[in-house]
Every structure is written in structure tokens, then in C-alpha cells.
């Protein structure tokens, strides 16, 4: 959408910039700053696809799982974002669970370390209702205490997500919602909405020889993006470095190297 209007009149683009600025909710505090703080996902193609050149920090982002089997992948996606946030910012992160949503189990501290997150930098809140989770998230954002707020809920209404989006804008802190997508689509005011599906892992080197699970791969679908276009990517998470990269070309390759002699 943005690219289509790139050649329009300077007045229009100025107005558009102002609207974008107002939408980010910092009209009182910093009237002249136009560059929002962002978090680079770490994949060039994805980052340049996003309107701000990365995930906007002062915004709500929603991650949904199409099937229960994808919960771990979606968790991991959130944690890899959280991990790079905690690397670049000092402070703590808050993760609020709805305990009725723990079919896939609770967060496992050694697994956090594997994701490069020091357990002492995370506080976990176990709550009984979605409303409590949403309330805590908003309260946490407004306090500007944590670096990032994550919430795991079954349902978040349009109003609730709008409130979170505003709170995130106000605090210039990211809010992430992890939500099961198999219970039907919901309206949301989140500025990006992702759908994470688990994929066959990519075996490398020894893992391939021994037929062991390799680097986890997911399909990350950006199905709604404010001020941007949707997109779909295959993403690989590197076990050793904790980085994300694009994996599409590798995933679709036949398992054996193609023999040119036979084909020719």
C-alpha cells in the first residue's frame, strides 16, 4: 500500500506522515520525531517488508497458532523476539498466562536458557481469566516497568486489543499476545498479526546422518499488518546461535541431491 503512494504529492505524504505519527500516540511528547523505535526480527526480507523496517516497539503484536500442535513453535517465535529484545535493552520481561491455556505445558526454565533468555529476567504471572491477563498486561505497559509484556489468552476482544495497542504506544514498549487460532478468527487492533505453523526441521551435517531432528522451521504468515502488506515466509531457527533466517529454499529441496546425469 505504501509503495503505491510513493510518488504522490508532497502535501499528501506530509499528511500521511502526520497521521502515522498521531496513530503512534506520541503527539504530546515528541512532536518532531518521526522514526519509531523498532526491533529487527533479524531476517532481511521480513524486516524490509514491515512498514517501519522491523517490528514497531510501541505496538501490540499478535501471534496465533492454527492448531494446538503449533503452540510450541509460536512460543519459540515469541521467545526469539523476546531474546533479542532483552539483549538490546536492560530490564525485565513479564509473561502472563491464563492457566486454562496451558495444554501445551508451562514455560520450562532450561528451555528459556536454550533460547538465550536468562530466567532471572522473566517474571511469570499465572492467572485464571483472560480479563486478568489483559488487565495485567495493560497495567504493566502503563507502569513502563518491563521491557516487554507477553500474554497468553484464549480470547481478546477488539476493545481489549485496542486498549493494549494504546498502552503499548503510550509506553513505547512492545506487547505480544499469544493466542490459539483454532477457536475461530477474532477482530484485533494489533498492528501486526502472525500465524505460526510448525514445519519439518532442517537437518544438517551429523543430524542428517543420524536422522536426528535438526533446526526447527516454521511457517510465519503475516496475515495482517497495519500500514503494510501481508506476507508468508518459511523461517528457520538456529539451535546453536538462536538466530532466525529464511529457510524456504532449503525446505523444499528434495532429500537427495538431484542427479543431473539421470535427468539429462
Amino acid at each position: 500500500m505504501t509503495s503505491r503512494h510513493n510518488h504522490s504529492h508532497p502535501v499528501i505524504s506530509d499528511l500521511r506522515a502526520r497521521i502515522a505519527h498521531i496513530e503512534r500516540g506520541n503527539r504530546e511528547t515528541q512532536p518532531e520525531t518521526n522514526t519509531p523505535t523498532i526491533l529487527k526480527i533479524g531476517i532481511q526480507v521480513l524486516d524490509s517488508h514491515l512498514p517501519d523496517g522491523g517490528l514497531t516497539l510501541g505496538a501490540l503484536h499478535e501471534v496465533t497458532t492454527p492448531k494446538p500442535a503449533d503452540t510450541a513453535a509460536a512460543t519459540s517465535f515469541c521467545l526469539s523476539l523476546l531474546s533479542s529484545l532483552l539483549r538490546s535493552y536492560k530490564g525485565m520481561a513479564l509473561w502472563c498466562h491464563n492457566i486454562n491455556m496451558l495444554d501445551a505445558g508451562e514455560v520450562y526454565p532450561p528451555g528459556l536458557i536454550h533460547h538465550g533468555i536468562a530466567p532471572e529476567r522473566l517474571v511469570i504471572l499465572k492467572l485464571k481469566r483472560d480479563e486478568d491477563v489483559l488487565w495485567s498486561m495493560e497495567e504493566a505497559l502503563r507502569s513502563k516497568g518491563p521491557v516487554c509484556v507477553l500474554g497468553e489468552v484464549a480470547y481478546a476482544s477488539l476493545t481489549a486489543t485496542r486498549r493494549l495497542q494504546l498502552a503499548a504506544q503510550y509506553a513505547d514498549l512492545p506487547a505480544l499476545i499469544l493466542r490459539p487460532g483454532w477457536q475461530g478468527e477474532q477482530n484485533s487492533a494489533a498492528s501486526t498479526r502472525w500465524r505460526i505453523t510448525t514445519q519439518k526441521s532442517r537437518q544438517l551435517g551429523l543430524a542428517k546422518t543420524l536422522n536426528e531432528p535438526g533446526n526447527p522451521c516454521w511457517q510465519a504468515e503475516l496475515y495482517r499488518c497495519r500500514r503494510g502488506a501481508p506476507g508468508i515466509w518459511k523461517v528457520e531457527w538456529h539451535n546453536e546461535t538462536g538466530d532466525l533466517s529464511l529457510a524456504a529454499s532449503v525446505i523444499d529441496r528434495p532429500s537427495k541431491p538431484f542427479n543431473t546425469d539421470v535427468a539429462g
Binding site: 500442535a69 503452540t71 510450541a72 513453535a73 512460543t75 519459540s76 517465535f77 521467545l79 536492560k90 530490564g91 525485565m92 513479564l94 501445551a104 505445558g105 508451562e106 514455560v107 520450562y108 526454565p109 532450561p110 528451555g111 528459556l112 536458557i113 536454550h114 533460547h115 530466567p119 532471572e120 522473566l122 517474571v123 511469570i124 504471572l125 499465572k126 492467572l127 486478568d132 495485567s136 497495567e139 504493566a140 507502569s143 513502563k144 516497568g145 518491563p146 510448525t198 514445519q199 519439518k200 526441521s201 537437518q203 543430524a207 543420524l210 536422522n211 536426528e212 531432528p213 535438526g214 526447527p216 522451521c217 531457527w237 539451535n239
Partner: protein, 501 residues
């Protein structure tokens, strides 16, 4: 009840005897310890009721709560130890008004009421208004206060104080039973003509100890002040205690809020002067009908900021029902700690402080058991190696492992048993090729393992030997499976314990 003769009775040796009498009954010559039949003969119009221990205790507890407006340290005093357990003769030796009492540690509190006398006058007047007759005394020792409250002559009214250094003079005329002695000791003392505390003080201490036991000396010393006997085990200085009274009872929510604000300001001012902060604050409201409402705010770190405390309390006081009106409010910093310098206001805003404020708010709202911190613990058993434990409370003694093997991101607690569709030999080093978990079949296409984790035999709850596998199914879902075998290697079960990203 107060305008006619009344007595409480108890059963002893299948006889009803008087346990306590009111002032009018005493005027007509009735005394605790008399048989009910005798009492009726003396005064036929006597109204009686059986003593109900449980109800009495409940009422006493209520009065104790009510008394906390005078001092944050209150406790229920013991009754005369062996009253009603021995013979009537022994009971009569324990002469004087009996029953239980309430201790108030008024250290540092009297100035709030304009002195000791004013405080006691207020206390007895208000209890009287509530419908209880009471006697009160204040002294520098616990023993003396006990004795004076029960045995002081009623010349000044139903309360008395023993000014500092004058305890001895006040105790001299009191009977020996004022020393909290057993009835047997009192009878022995009476039999040799020792009736008052003054009589005892004239005798050499060694003689007293030999004849009547160490207890007598201890009681005597604690009354006179030779040994100290604290009421609460707390080591205390002047308590951080503030109060407000209202000439007109208040009831509106805004008024309660304003009251809290005032009290917090006062409290924080005093805490700031001493460089301490509160970790537990108690806000108590006293209704005109004698009932109270109490709210607790706890924080993980000592706080000395009225705005933060106000925020914490504001959610707690929303549901307070003022009833017929609130006449008094107190605020007490129950647990205090020294403030670390970076927590004072001077440094200003920093996000660390904001975060701990947020955590306190969450702990107060959802309870400490729901605000958790992931921790690593020293154990090989996966479910013990990583735990979520409350963020407040004593830190666990934990050894942090620096290097962690590939572990799942989510852990099922407890592990869920799966059905291995194909039979796996118990000596095999492979996971089941197909397994069923939550009614779904999963075909294993990749696997890594086994990683053997031996049981921790030194733990009380022991596990079997486990062989862990990381497997991936056809769709790409990755599991952490384990096989548990018992000591004899006869039974083996398969479980899924975690999910990998």
C-alpha cells in the same frame, strides 16, 4: 444485665458454681467460686448463664482487635491458670476479679492519646460504651500491670497507672494472689499469714525460694521489674503507628481514601526520618459499632513512598463497607526494613523501581503464589531442574548451571503417558515408531537419544530410570519423550514430557 445481679456458672464435680459475678452481685455478697445453690439462697433474684468458652474466646478476640486502635501490639492474656480445677477452697484463694485479659504494649503509643491517664480513661470509657465492664492498668512491667488491673483499689475509677519507678509502692498493698501464682502456693502463703506482696518483700529471698519454689520469686521479680518479660517476642523500638479519629463518623469512600492518604503521609514522613521502609502495612478502620475492617498491603521490597502505597491500598479499600460509620483509623508499618539508598525519592524514576512497584501491585492483587520467577534447581530430573517459584519470599538456594543441553520450551507437568502403538523391545535404543498422545497418532520420522537420566535415590519421591528421546513426527511437531523403567527392568512406560519449538 448491668443493673441486676448476674453471674456466669461452670460445672465442677457435677455442681454448678459461680465463675464470674458482676458488680451488683458482689455487692449482695456473691463471689466467684460459690456454689450456685448457696448463691441462690443468699440472693434469690440472681440471674445466671452457663459460661461458653468458645463464644468467650471469640468475643475476646474481637475486643483484642478493637483494642488495636490503642497499640499495634495486642495479645490475649491467660486466665487464672488453675481456677475451677481444684477445690472451692483453692479457688477462693485466688480472690479478686478474674477472667481473661488483653495485653496492650503501649510503648510509644500513649502520646497519641495525650498521656497514659488519658489513654486508659478513653479505653475504659469506650469499652463501657460497648457494654463491657473493664479494669485497666498501666505499669512498666507486665506483672505489675496484671496485678494492678485486677487488684487495684477502685478509688480513681476502673483504671490506674503506676508511674515509672513507683511500681513497688503500688504493689505493696496488693494481695499475694496478684502475683499470678497457683492456688496451692497462695494457700500455703495464707496459712503462714503472708497476705500481701509487701509481706513477701520483707522476707529474705532465699527463704522464699526454698519454701515456695522458684516460680514465686520469678513472679515477684517480673512484677517489680527485676527481670523483664516481653509481651510480644518481637524486638521493638517505637512502633511505626499512626492514627486518626473523627469527631463525626465518616462513611463515604472518598473520605476513607482521604484518611488513608493522610495516614500514609504521616507514616512515610516518620519512616523517612529513620531511613526505613515498610514491607507490610496494616490499615485498620474502626466502626462505631465496635467491629473493624482491616487491609494488608505487602511489598517485596521496603517502600517509603506514599504514592506507591496509596496505589497498593487503593484496590484493597474499594470494597470497604462503612456500616454505621467509621470513627477511627490506624495505619501500622508491621514489617520494616532499612531502605537501600537507591530507593529513596531523590534518585527519581528508574525502570527497575517501576518494575518492582508493578510486581508488588500484581502480588497484592493476585496473591504471591501466582507471581512467579523461573528458576533452575540442582537436579537431574527434568521436572525438578526447572521450576517456577514465587517471586516474593526467601530466595531459594540454587546452583545455576551455565550450560544446558537442548531442552524443550514447554514442559508438561506431570508428564503424560503415551501409548506406544508398536511394541518396543526393552533393550532398544529407539523410541516407538508410532505413538498415540491425546488420542492422536504421531509417526516418528526423526529421533535423537537416548539420554539416560538416573533416579535421584536420595530424594524421598523417587523416579525410575529414564531414557529421553527428542523426536519429530511427520508434520514437524517435536516432542520430548521418555521411557521409564523400574528397578527390575520389568515394566516400562512411555511418556511425553515436553514440546520443542
Amino acid at each position: 444485665m448491668r443493673d441486676r445481679a448476674f453471674a456466669l456458672t461452670i460445672e465442677r464435680h457435677s455442681q454448678a458454681i459461680l465463675f464470674a459475678t458482676n458488680a451488683i452481685a458482689e455487692q449482695v455478697g456473691l463471689k466467684p467460686g460459690m456454689r450456685l445453690a448457696d448463691a441462690r439462697a443468699i440472693f434469690p433474684g440472681l440471674k445466671t448463664e452457663a459460661k461458653q468458652t468458645k463464644e468467650d474466646e471469640a468475643i475476646l478476640e474481637k475486643i483484642r482487635n478493637w483494642c488495636s486502635r490503642y497499640s499495634p501490639w495486642t495479645s490475649i492474656g491467660e486466665e487464672k491458670d488453675d481456677w475451677g480445677k481444684g477445690t472451692a477452697e483453692q479457688d477462693q484463694a485466688l480472690e479478686g476479679p478474674g477472667g481473661a485479659g488483653i495485653w496492650l504494649d503501649a510503648t510509644g503509643c500513649t502520646h497519641l492519646f495525650g498521656g497514659e491517664e488519658a489513654m486508659l480513661a478513653d479505653l475504659t470509657k469506650k469499652t463501657n460504651q460497648l457494654g463491657f465492664s473493664s479494669r485497666a492498668a498501666m505499669a512498666e512491667t507486665k506483672g505489675a500491670a496484671w496485678a494492678l488491673a485486677r487488684y487495684h483499689p477502685n478509688d480513681k475509677g476502673n483504671w490506674t497507672t503506676a508511674p515509672l519507678g513507683e511500681v513497688r509502692q503500688h504493689l505493696i498493698p496488693l494481695p499475694v494472689s496478684a502475683l499470678r501464682l497457683s492456688s496451692n502456693t497462695i494457700l500455703k502463703l495464707h496459712s503462714v499469714g503472708l497476705r500481701t506482696i509487701g509481706d513477701l518483700l520483707l522476707l529474705p529471698r532465699s527463704t522464699l525460694a526454698v519454701r515456695y519454689g522458684e516460680t514465686l520469686l520469678e513472679r515477684l521479680d517480673s512484677a517489680i521489674g527485676n527481670i523483664s518479660e516481653p509481651i510480644s517476642t518481637q524486638k521493638y523500638k517505637e512502633p511505626l503507628y499512626v492514627r486518626l479519629t473523627f469527631s463525626e463518623p465518616i462513611g463515604r469512600r472518598e473520605d476513607i481514601k482521604a484518611t488513608l492518604e493522610k495516614l500514609l503521609l504521616l507514616l512515610c514522613k516518620r519512616m523517612e526520618d529513620r531511613g526505613i521502609g515498610t514491607r507490610r502495612s496494616v490499615f485498620t478502620l474502626y466502626r462505631t459499632d465496635g467491629s473493624i475492617e482491616r487491609r494488608l498491603a505487602k511489598t517485596a521490597q521496603p517502600v517509603c513512598d506514599n504514592v506507591i502505597l496509596q496505589q497498593l491500598f487503593s484496590e484493597l479499600i474499594d470494597d470497604i463497607d462503612a456500616g454505621f460509620g467509621i470513627e477511627e483509623a490506624t495505619l501500622f508499618a508491621d514489617r520494616t526494613e532499612a531502605l537501600s539508598p537507591h530507593q529513596t525519592k531523590l534518585i527519581g524514576h528508574n525502570s527497575n523501581r517501576d518494575f518492582s512497584t508493578l510486581i508488588d501491585q500484581l502480588v497484592n492483587r493476585f496473591g504471591p503464589e501466582n507471581v512467579l520467577r523461573p528458576r533452575l534447581a540442582e537436579s537431574h530430573i527434568p521436572e525438578r531442574a526447572g521450576i517456577l517459584s514465587p517471586i516474593v519470599g526467601p530466595p531459594l538456594n540454587i546452583h545455576i548451571q551455565k550450560k544446558v543441553a537442548n531442552r524443550p520450551i514447554r514442559l508438561l507437568r506431570p508428564p503424560e503417558e503415551i501409548e506406544a502403538v508398536t511394541i518396543v523391545s526393552k533393550f532398544s535404543f529407539e523410541p516407538p515408531p508410532i505413538f498415540r498422545w491425546r488420542r492422536q497418532l504421531h509417526k516418528v520420522v526423526m529421533s535423537e537419544g537416548p539420554e539416560r537420566i538416573a533416579p535421584e535415590w536420595w530424594q524421598e519421591e523417587n523416579t525410575g530410570t529414564r531414557d529421553y528421546f527428542q523426536v519429530e513426527d511427520k508434520k514437524g511437531q517435536r516432542f520430548w519423550l521418555f521411557r521409564e523403567t523400574d528397578d527390575e527392568q520389568t515394566i516400562q512406560r512411555w511418556y511425553v514430557q515436553g514440546l520443542f519449538s
